[in-house]
């Protein structure tokens, strides 16, 4: 076969040039099909790759490889991807790809290029189509295919970086396959498919600073275009993908950490944008702002707010740009407002944000659901911080105390174990609030509760004239620990504050374990003898239920 090919070299070269006009090479494929019947596709593919690499005359085998990329069989595709990766990397290294502005394939015949150039152009065209196929494969159902496609593209990017395909005649230009990365990002941010797995695989590459930088830029670009195209409507799949990609991006905290590059730049390293932390931060900031500019689904909103304070704000060059987003979120109400608190806290604390009516809004945030939401611990942690200032007016603190204690009437035991010490701590910090639990002046004088729960303004709710009868009621709570905690208000509070940080994450089971672990205590028994499932001395169940 080899000898035969040698004999038809001239012919094959011409066929190549002529045949390129009509890309389908049926005879070749059919030939390969016949071959395949004898040998496994894997061997065929590797054999063909070897042939192509051996000499130019076998260059037409590339079409077969590309054919395999579209195969139905997953294994074949993976093999083909690996082969392509090997082949084109090799070719890139050899410099057999055309550098510079690539003429169109149609122009190839008319143009006055020598055979060598023509060959290079041909290979370059095949390379482009290969990349196209690979990017298509990123949307493949099989993760295996996706992953190897991704890896192959990244390999190409690395190789291109080393052997740029653009002419570098001016020195300002840095060789980086921006185009390729941008196309990859486009492929990753699919609008139909959840790419979470692949994106987490991609994170490995995002650790390289230059890749990350360009990914950030292209992601921003991508979002712009996609969202505008869709008229700013919510696109949950797409936005989930974007969010996954965005959360996987972490900007280094120091300039000196930027050392990991996909493509090493020799010239003018200092001026290179990629090497500057500031640029990174700016890109990061712009990317997030673009993402947040568009309407998000509720769950996405929450997710963003959860990570906002510790993985977004610190990496932004100007965190104050988030103010709009956060205040908007704070005004939404409910769980989202609770979550926005954290970001706002960072801004107020570190970036000197002046927020009027902050406390009023915080006051109105408190409704019965705060004891039941998932973010209870976070909320009380922040509320503890916000209310720790000793410069707050007494009426405000009293309003908070009164509101919390009113809400405590509907709280589960774990919530009560947080809120009761919390209230006690507030009274300790602001001794003038002590009248809430100790008002000796009006001794014995009966009065109804002057506090108005519905009043939105803490200044108008008459909390200071009230007493904490709710806590008094909770002294009768069924759980012994809660009851004990509520009894703290019966005496003058001791000076030391209770540490509520340990109680914040307390779960019902952990609370139960306290009783289950304590084996030493004796076990009293019911002395009334039992006659049946429903009968009991204090019959309630039996009144409403029957056995049948």
């Amino acid at each position: 076969m080899c000898t035969l090919n040698l004999g038809v070299l001239r012919f094959s070269l011409t066929a190549r040039y002529t045949g390129n006009m009509a890309p389908s090479k049926k005879p070749n494929v059919s030939k390969s099909d016949t071959e395949k019947s004898q040998t496994s596709p894997k061997q065929t593919i590797s054999a063909k790759t070897e042939l192509i690499l051996q000499s130019r005359k076998h260059a037409n085998n590339i079409f077969d490889l590309l054919e395999y990329l579209q195969s139905e069989k997953e294994k074949e595709v993976v093999c083909a991807i690996n082969a392509c990766q090997r082949l084109f990397c090799e070719l890139l290294e050899r410099g057999e790809l055309y550098v510079g502005q690539l003429p169109k394939e149609e122009e190839l015949l008319q143009g006055a290029w020598n055979a060598d150039e023509k060959y290079h152009m041909f290979i370059r065209h095949r390379y482009n189509s290969c990349i196209e196929l690979l990017l298509e494969n990123i949307g493949h159902e099989s993760y295996q295919v996706k992953e190897s496609s991704l890896c192959a593209v990244m390999k190409f990017a690395a190789a291109e970086g080393k052997h740029p395909l653009q002419k570098q005649d001016w020195s300002q230009h840095y060789s980086f396959p921006k185009e390729l990365i941008s196309r990859l990002v486009w492929a990753l941010l699919s609008e139909k498919q959840d790419m979470a797995l692949l994106i987490s695989r991609f994170q490995e590459f995002l650790e390289m600073d230059d890749v990350r930088y360009y990914v950030m830029n292209s992601a921003r670009d991508n979002m712009h275009r996609v969202m505008e195209r869709n008229k700013r409507a919510e696109m949950s799949v797409y936005q989930t993908n974007v969010f996954t990609l965005l959360t996987n991006i972490t900007v280094p905290s120091q300039n000196s950490e930027i050392t990991n590059f996909l493509v090493k730049q020799e010239a003018k390293y200092e001026d290179w944008k990629v090497a500057k932390l500031k640029e990174h931060k700016r890109a990061f900031e712009l990317m997030w702002l673009t993402f947040l500019k568009y309407k998000l689904p509720m769950s996405m909103y929450k997710k963003v707010l959860v990570i906002l304070h510790d993985s977004i704000l610190p990496h932004m060059s100007d965190p104050t740009l988030m103010i709009d987003f956060l205040t908007a979120a704070y005004d939404v109400g409910g769980a989202i407002s609770l979550l926005a608190l954290n970001g706002l806290f960072v801004l107020i604390h570190e970036h000197n944000l002046e927020y009027t009516d902050f406390y009023k809004k915080l006051y109105n945030l408190m409704d019965p659901s705060i004891f039941h939401v998932k973010y209870r611990a976070r909320f009380f942690h922040l509320a503890n911080i916000f209310l720790s200032s000793s410069h707050l007016p007494v009426y405000l603190i009293a309003a908070f105390i009164k509101r919390l204690s009113r809400l405590a009437l509907t709280a589960p035991p774990t919530g009560l174990l947080i809120v009761l010490p919390f209230i006690c701590n507030l009274i300790r910090r602001h001794p003038s609030c002590r009248v809430l639990i100790h008002r000796p002046s009006a001794d014995g004088e009966m009065c109804s509760d002057p506090y108005v729960l519905e009043e939105e303004d803490p200044a108008q709710c008459h909390a200071l004239e009230s007493s904490l009868w709710e806590i008094k009621s909770l002294q009768n709570h069924f759980h012994p620990d809660v009851s004990k905690a509520a009894k703290a208000i019966n005496q003058a509070l001791p000076e030391r504050e209770d540490d509520i940080s340990e109680l914040l994450e307390l779960s019902t089971f952990e609370l139960m374990e306290r009783d289950l672990k304590n084996q030493s205590q004796s076990v009293p028994l019911e002395f009334d003898s039992v006659t049946g499932l429903l009968q009991s001395p204090r019959e309630v169940l039996g009144l409403h239920f029957s056995l049948e």
Binding site: K374, M446, H544
Partner: protein, 854 residues
């Protein structure tokens, strides 16, 4: 000899005492210790001292002790006269003798006559008992003695003194031949003679002795014949007249039965043992009947004339004899059918019996198939009786026994098979228990567990406690499985409850542990579900029943209880975390609410979740969810897909509704299918809900925040609930509730701190401390003080000892010095004497010389 001594001692005493008095008054002898402070009430021993007296005392004491020791130094032996009062100079010798005699007598009496009954001491004369002498028992001896003595004395006197005519004559006749003999020979002769006589006397004595003995024996043999009756008759004659009433009375009293021993109260262990034995007996009987072993003609057993008819039969000596065979210990295997000795068999044999029973059942099953047709009706009859106590059957069996035919025998076999076994082995695992209980009716299962409990009562064997303890867990598991059946077997569970209760009473710790682990696991899994999925399903009917059992077994009103506190927490967790998505979950929640209300009905503790949940349930019945006047919390939402679960679809169904208890199994699956049925179910749920709210209002009336707690419910009831569609019972309830909840919050006194006890002022009274020892003592605690005191004492003693030693040495040195001085003086005196004698010699010699010279 005694007199002068006595005199001296007396005068010594006189002198001493007078001297003492003199000394005490003599100001030169007295030394007064000056005191720095005069402490009132303190008595001091050492204010006045007599140094001279004490010194002389000490000196004397040293002389008595130290000096003697010193003198005896380097000398091997010392003679100590231990006779009484030997060294006592003060005692008169007569006293001494008397005392010594008395002591000796005491001594002998104490030693020898300790057990001597006749307490008279033996008086002796020359070492021989006087009593013996007086009795003259040994006539022969005494005779011979006296003879001998007399003889001897006569001869001796004759020989010695040579007096008397007869003797003289004799002498004179003998003299002729004796003349030739010397005195020496004579004496020898005399001795020989006396010896010979002595020997003769001895043999004679022996002979008489033998004769006497022989006579004695003969007499004795005759005496038996002669004196048989005579003495007794004489006695009777004496006794008879003496019997008077008094004696008879006394004797009667002696024989009269004192307090009759009453039947002992049985301990629980004994009761348990008896119960088990009874069951074992019945079981053995049943097994025997099942296997068809009825002895047709019960022969009257042989009854011996000695039979007391008390049921004690020693039918065979079943004691095993120790025998050896081929050098090995031969242990005979017990033979005989197991039925007879079941009663004696120990705990471990229960298992065997059980197995036997199983086999027997199998056998009879096999037999049953063959002639099933013949006896089917009979069998049924007997089946009904089968549950009875067993004794009745035994009686009936005994009645028919006499006319047993083959058929009847089979009939009995069937009865026995249908009967429950009487003994049960405690199951080792859950599957065993299940196998044991399966196939029986609820009541029978109850009886089985009862019997199993009795057979394995902890007081019967060591391992039983552990076995029974496990049963609680198994039973609960079984109950749980029954609850998961479809439809759940609630009646069976209901009958098992008393058994569970009694087991828990036996082993509270085990029951507590099982319950705790059940609840803990359930709570843990629910929490995990909430964390992973964000919500959890309502627990199944089995868990609800576990909770119910827990609240039945353990007191819910305790402030903290190892079981009920977790149960409360679990209920609270369920009511806040589990999503209400269906009528089943509504029902499960309602059951939990009922439980919660029941649990707090005594303690009146506040359960916020309960109120929230009831509010939520009522909210489910509200048709339009636009109001924001009240908040519903977690498992419920203001709006949502399952927020109209309890809305009654057809207002007409209210007319056909009658109050009916909801089935517990609705928590498992609501059986209502048609719309009307569903509406009825909803109305029942709402009725229960309202009733619970009413109970809650009664419970929490006293809380200061009462109005705030029930405000949302009030708003909902007053404004939103579509009461007009509801039956009148519900409307009535609603009205009652609205009446109890005030619109305006009630008035309360503002909170004040609990009044504290005023801190008492510092007392300025002196603190009285008991002083045990005077002097400077450091240390604060008791131990330290004691230590200090001991140290002080030791120091004092040490110093005293040192002083004593010093004084001793000084004394010794003084004695040594005086000894040497005395010796020197002696020597000087002797030398002087020598010199003196020499000088006189010299003088004499010089005088002689002078005289010669002259």
């Amino acid at each position: 000899m005694g007199k002068p001594e006595k005199k001296r001692s007396v005068c010594d005493k006189v002198r001493k005492s007078s001297a003492h008095a003199q000394i005490k008054t003599n100001p030169f002898e007295v030394k007064i210790n000056k005191k720095k402070f005069d402490v009132l009430g303190r008595k001091s021993k050492h204010d006045v001292g007599l140094p001279g007296v004490s010194r002389s005392k000490a000196h004397n004491k040293r002389k008595q002790t130290l000096l003697k020791e010193f003198r005896m130094k380097n000398k091997a032996n010392s003679f100590i006269d231990r006779r009484f009062g030997e060294y006592d100079a003060k005692m008169a010798p007569e006293d001494k003798i008397l005392k010594r005699f008395a002591m000796e007598r005491q001594h002998t009496q104490m030693k020898k006559d300790m057990f001597n009954l006749n307490d008279e001491e033996e008086l002796t004369h020359y070492g021989q008992s006087l009593a013996e002498m007086e009795k003259f028992t040994d006539g022969v001896d005494s005779e011979s003695d006296s003879e001998e003595k007399g003889l001897l004395s006569a001869e001796i006197t004759a020989s010695h003194f040579g007096g008397g005519g007869g003797l003289l004559r004799k002498k004179s006749s003998e003299e002729a031949e004796a003349k030739s003999k010397t005195r020496q020979e004579l004496i020898e002769e005399l001795i020989l003679k006396s010896k010979q006589e002595k020997r003769e006397r001895q043999t004679q004595k022996e002979e008489t002795h033998e004769l006497i003995e022989k006579l004695d024996q003969e007499w004795k043999s005759i005496q038996n014949l002669i004196s048989r009756k005579t003495p007794r008759e004489r006695e009777e004659e004496k006794d008879k007249p003496k019997l008077d009433e008094y004696d008879m009375m006394v004797r009667e009293l002696g024989f009269e039965i004192k307090a009759q021993p009453s039947e002992k109260l049985k301990t629980p262990e004994e009761i348990a043992r008896e119960e088990r034995e009874r069951l074992q007996k019945l079981e053995a009987d049943r097994l025997r009947r099942m296997e068809g072993q009825v002895d047709e003609n019960p022969r009257p057993t042989h009854m011996s004339a000695d039979d007391l008819n008390d049921g004690f039969i020693l039918d065979k000596d079943d004691r095993k004899t120790l025998s050896y065979q081929d050098g090995k210990w031969n242990i005979e295997e017990e033979e005989g059918d197991g039925g007879d000795d079941d009663g004696d068999e120990g705990e471990d044999d229960d298992g065997d019996e059980e197995e036997d029973g199983d086999e027997g059942e199998d056998d009879s099953d096999g037999g049953d198939e063959e002639d099933d047709d013949d006896h089917s009706d009979l069998e049924d009859d007997e089946d009904e009786d089968g549950e009875d106590d067993g004794e009745k059957e035994e009686e009936s069996a005994a009645e028919i026994r006499h006319m047993l035919s083959v058929e009847e025998r089979k009939e009995i076999q069937d009865t026995a098979r249908a009967e429950l076994p009487y003994t049960f082995k405690a199951p080792e695992c859950y599957m065993d228990l299940k196998a044991m209980l399966q196939g029986y009716s609820a009541d029978e299962q109850c009886v089985i567990i009862e019997r199993m409990k009795k057979c394995n009562h902890p007081s019967l064997a060591v391992g039983n406690k552990a076995k029974l303890q496990k049963q609680f867990g198994f039973l609960l598991e079984y109950v749980g499985e029954l609850a998961t059946h479809n439809p759940p077997q609630l009646t069976t569970i209901n009958t098992l409850i008393p058994q569970i209760y009694s087991l828990s009473q036996l082993f509270p710790e085990a029951a507590c542990r099982v319950m705790q682990s059940l609840i803990g696991d359930a709570a843990h899994s629910m929490e995990e579900n909430v964390e992973v999925k964000g919500r959890a399903a309502f627990p199944g009917l089995d868990m609800l029943i576990y909770l119910r059992i827990a609240t039945l077994l353990f007191p819910a009103s305790d402030f903290r209880h190892p079981v009920t506190t977790p149960v409360f927490l679990y209920i609270s967790q369920t009511l806040t975390k589990c999503a209400v998505v269906s009528l089943e979950s509504v029902c499960a929640g309602l059951i939990l609410c009922c439980l919660a209300v029941e649990c707090v009905s005594l303690s009146k503790r506040f359960v916020p979740e309960l109120i929230n949940y009831l509010l939520g349930l009522l909210h489910l019945a509200v048709p339009t969810h636009t109001s924001t006047e009240y908040h519903v919390v977690h498992p419920f939402r203001l709006q949502g897909k399952s927020s109209e679960l309890l809305r009654v679809c057809d207002p007409q169904s209210a007319n056909s509704w009658t109050r009916k208890n909801i089935s517990l199994s609705s928590a498992h699956k609501v059986t209502a299918t048609t719309e009307t049925e569903k509406d009825h179910f909803k109305l029942s749920v709402l009725y229960a809900c309202l009733d619970l709210v009413k109970r809650c209002t009664a419970l929490y009336q006293q809380l200061p925040a009462y109005q705030h707690i029930f405000q949302p419910i009030r708003i909902l009831l007053a404004k939103h609930l579509p009461v007009s569609d509801y039956p009148s019972a519900l409307q009535e309830l609603r009205k009652e509730i609205l009446e109890v909840i005030p619109e305006r919050p009630s008035e309360h006194a503002p909170l004040v701190f609990d009044k504290k006890k005023p801190i008492p002022l510092k007392l300025l009274q002196p603190k009285v401390v008991e002083v045990l020892d005077y002097g400077k003592k450091r240390g604060n605690t008791k131990e330290e003080k004691e230590r200090e005191r001991l140290k002080h004492k030791y120091k004092k003693e040490f110093k005293g000892a040192l002083r004593e030693i010093r004084k001793d040495t000084r004394f010794l040195a003084h004695t040594k010095l005086s000894d040497t001085l005395r010796r020197d003086a002696e020597r000087k005196r002797k030398v002087k004497e020598l010199f003196g004698s020499l000088a006189t010699q010299e003088g004499e010699w010089k005088a002689l010389k002078k005289r010669k010279r002259k």
